[in-house]
Amino acid sequence: MTLFGFSRAQTIAFGILLILIVVSPLVLYPIFLMQVMCFSLFALGCNLLMGYIGLLSLGQAAYFGMGGYITAYAVQSLGVTPEIGIVLGGLTGAALGTVFGWLAIRRTGIYFAMITLALAQMVYFFAVEAPFTGGENGIQGVPRGKLFGLISLNHDMAMYWLVAAIFIAGFLLAHRIIHSPFGQVVKAIRENEPRAISLGYRNEQYKWLIFILAGAFAGVAGGTKSLVFGIATLTDVHWPMSGEVVLMVLLGGIGTTFGPIVGALIVIAMENYLASFGAWVTVIQGAIFMACVLVFRRGVIGEIGHRLKQAL
């Protein structure tokens, strides 16, 4: 039985995930949960790059942040409905990914990381200077609007179900991509690039496509987040955000299906509930980064999967 190509263990995990999505808003603050789902989506995209093609991007914030700006701008100033706004956010991420990916995939390793960082810095600069982003103020007071022009999203729970739907769709899509024939080739490239090339695969195009997809995920995530909070700001496009999403993937487990979600949950929960300790959040994040690299390279889900001898 392979629903969406899930293994048995993954099917169970997916079931638990669905139950949690339905039950947790009864107990937890819905805005917090929406934030976790947005960042999960962002991390899922980043995981496609890091986990399945082995490229570390230090510029994912560019796609996340610009997706947020475009969605916010489209909904607020152009008056489009929220679903169109989010699609536009995703397209922005994909479009940026297309251009930047084309430039960046020519290099690997550290040079790839540095090019993505540099390009993202330019996007940040653009966000500071361009009039429509509102500079330091950001785009504020973005209305959530009416879904398909019909259902008002002003109530937090209405918005919650929309975010949950987008999140589940994104999650299934990411999983589907990895388990398609296309995904198999991508993994082959990660494992042994020269061999994949000698087998006749045009590895650059595969890398490029994954890069674009990661950008699209980030764009959708950023766009959705801007609607949840009604604001799009420089924070989301600045480079520490790129570091944060890498941390989520690393912590959850690089190359795992559920890892990015767990990573996002832990990081966001930490920021929300430890924030009263001031800069200790930074200290703890730093310590987790170090622990992950030194003793814990599989991440939470990777480690659990390793113990259970299951791919999660």
């Binding site: 500079g135 950001g138 700001t233 924030a275």
Partner: protein, 411 residues
């Protein structure tokens, strides 16, 4: 996001103690309010806001509940980290948890974001520490009151005085974001209206700039009489220190710090800051009342004297409590706009600002004081830094209603 609960003073402590005892029915009888202080607790504005703002709110509550023992007030504090998204998130969460008043909020970008949330949730927002005059102009709303000062007042008081004393040619160093631009544009308007000119202007990247030398040298070679610093906090402190290093004042250029607080002067030190012209609407060593207030609040904040933003937190909290008391807590909790309306009806009266009023657009009307920083020899006691040069009455210090686009004015 920061939510730290602090139980306070007499009555609040009594409630806390009562809560630990089983089955005390008295609890429901004490109606309670919650005030959230959202400020910069770790960044460049922590000295002008931060814990001293909390101390001033605590002080106002202590004084009010001493004479109104029936009221219990809780205080939360949250660090907005100078990010509008973080600030909006704190505000949303607090208001959802039934915070009745959100106060302080240095940083204009964050303040505007929070004003929007306050309007959505119909809860009271008193801004005491942000500069932008847009809070009572384009983005005014029925739930927001802007206390203490704004960019218009700074531009008119400091800018006007500098031109009057002969500073005709201006060079601006501007933080490249909305607050910096607004402060520069309003000052520029004042300078030009008074017959001055602007000979140069640089926008520097905010907040990543620590080295202002390049801009200072440009100012020096521009032939300007006055260097206008359209920035705040750490940036202002750095640019003034570096202007001193590059000998700007030796070449006869006067510095106009458009937004400087007492705490910044303390950070710069009198040997460098002496002679600076600046504007505040409160100075602790102004008269017997301000000194009395300062003496009362100092035990709560022994290392940092209150400047105007802090005093605004005290004054705003006190007036809020008076208004709520007037309406009755249950009645007041129905609508933030209702409380604000009541606050606008009543005149304010406290030791920090004296007897004042709140205008229809949410503007707290207080006079602007033009100060000059003392020479090291003139300063007799700790934090004795200012000489009063001039006073601008409130009606001239703030933007006239006729020039504003605030929707509340017509209504």
């Amino acid at each position: 996001m920061t939510i730290s609960r602090r139980s306070l003073i007499g009555t609040a402590t009594a409630v806390a103690v009562a809560e630990t005892l089983p089955r005390v029915p008295a609890r429901a009888a004490t109606p309670s309010l919650t005030i959230g202080v959202c400020s910069d607790f770790s960044g460049p504005y922590q000295d002008v806001g931060g814990n001293t703002s909390v101390a001033c709110v605590d002080q106002a509550i202590a004084e009010f509940t001493a004479s109104h023992p029936g009221m219990s007030v809780q205080v939360l504090k949250g660090d907005h980290q100078n990010k509008p998204d973080v600030g909006a998130e704190i505000a949303r969460r607090w208001f959802d948890q039934s915070v009745d008043l959100l106060i302080d909020v240095p940083n204009s970008a964050v303040a505007l974001a929070i004003a929007g949330v306050a309007k959505d949730k119909d809860k009271v927002f008193i801004n005491s520490n942000a500069a932008t005059s847009e809070l009572t102009n384009k983005f005014c709303n029925a739930d927001t009151i802007h206390w203490t000062y704004d960019t218009y007042m700074l531009a008119h008081s400091t800018g006007g005085a500098m031109v009057k004393s002969g500073g005709k040619k201006w060079f601006f160093i501007t933080a490249d974001y909305a607050f910096g631009h607004l402060l520069r544009d309003q000052t520029e308007a004042v300078v030009k209206a008074a017959g001055g000119t602007v000979v140069g202007d640089v926008d520097y990247p905010f907040p990543s700039t620590t080295d202002f030398s390049s801009y200072l040298v440009q100012a020096q070679s521009s032939g300007a009489d006055v260097l206008g610093l359209a920035n705040a906090g750490k940036d202002t402190v750095n640019s003034i220190k570096q202007a001193h290093q590059f000998g700007l004042t030796k070449t006869g250029i006067k510095l106009a710090g458009l937004l400087i607080f007492l705490n910044d002067v303390n950070g710069i030190g009198l040997d460098i800051a002496q002679g600076l012209i600046l504007t505040e609407s409160f100075y602790w060593n102004m008269n017997d009342n301000t000194r009395a207030f300062t003496k009362r609040v100092l035990p709560r904040t022994p290392n940092n004297y209150p400047s105007m933003g802090h005093a605004g937190c005290y004054s705003g909290t006190l007036h809020f409590l008076k208004a709520v008391n007037e309406m009755g807590i249950a009645n007041a909790k129905k609508s933030g706009a209702g409380i604000v309306e009541q606050m606008k009806k009543m005149p304010t009266d406290d030791d920090a600002f004296g007897k004042r009023s709140i205008r229809v657009d949410g503007r707290f009307m207080c006079p602007a004081f033009l100060f000059q920083v003392k020479k090291p020899g003139e300063s007799k006691i700790p934090w004795d830094y200012y000489n009063l040069l001039a006073t601008t009455p409130a009606e001239e210090a703030f933007m006239p209603l006729s020039e504003e686009t605030c929707a509340l004015i017509k209504a």
